[in-house]
Symmetry: C2
Subunit: 153 residues, 2 copies
């Protein structure tokens, strides 16, 4: 079964990454799923006259890569998302390869909560920076619940 | 041509909304686009044993609805996304109808920047709350640039 890390397995400075080339198909599908048909994403003629000079990907598409890393790699399945901040530094253009990296920057043992620095980069330059707060299952809490349940039986 | 609001058109308290039923197809496509194959989203047997008891949608899918409102309605096309905070209050389940609402809470005239309160709700209950900061084209800045260009010619 897919299982992520338990809180006890996590260490400050632990990192994980995922890279993906953002294709035209991704942008079209993202527009279909969210309804975000902003011409900046879908209309090449409009985009050419716009601030960025060409079509750009939806900002939340890059943010989705951060969630991919947290939800499947570090801490992995079982992680519960509490909050995320996002600072959009540069646009992601169609064809850019985006690498999302998360790094553990704080561990709150009492609440089994984890703070991660989250960065998406294109050719080594940050395009999206922020911070995530997540809750992670802990072995201690699971053992506590089991003991309470057994005592009640 | 699709055109959004100019900064001068915006007022404190202006609001816009978009509602969408989050379907299984949306979740499958979102996983394909982002690579986020967390079993919480895709594996019904896993999800049934998990904290939420059933499959939930990707958190960033709801966040994408906020961007849809800002990029196509208020302020609309031409808006440049600077930052977004997201607090995940409750999971979005497959079949839930999510309404994303944005409301202008601050206008920075000097920089033509707009702060918006952003909320996604299901049956009137907030599932995702946060704040966005965006830059919006201003008629004043466009007129200034035109005057400078003409004076140089």
């Amino acid at each position: 079964m897919d299982e992520g890390c338990f809180f006890e397995d996590l260490r400050l400075g632990q990192k994980a990454s995922f890279g993906k080339t953002v294709t035209e198909a991704d942008v079209v599908l993202f527009a279909a799923v969210t309804g975000d048909t902003n011409p900046m994403h879908l209309n090449e003629e409009y985009a050419r006259e716009s601030f960025f000079g060409e079509r750009i990907a939806h900002g939340m598409l890059a943010a989705g890569l951060i969630t991919k890393v947290m939800g499947t790699q570090l801490p992995g399945p079982g992680t519960i998302y509490l909050s995320q901040s996002l600072r959009f530094r540069k646009p992601v253009k169609i064809g850019d390869t985006v690498t999302a990296t998360v790094e553990i920057t704080a561990l709150n043992e009492e609440k089994a909560r984890v703070t991660l620095r989250t960065v998406c980069s294109v050719k080594g330059e940050p395009v999206l920076e922020g911070e995530a707060l997540v809750a992670v299952p802990s072995r201690a809490a699971i053992a506590d619940r089991r003991a309470t349940k057994e005592a009640a039986e």
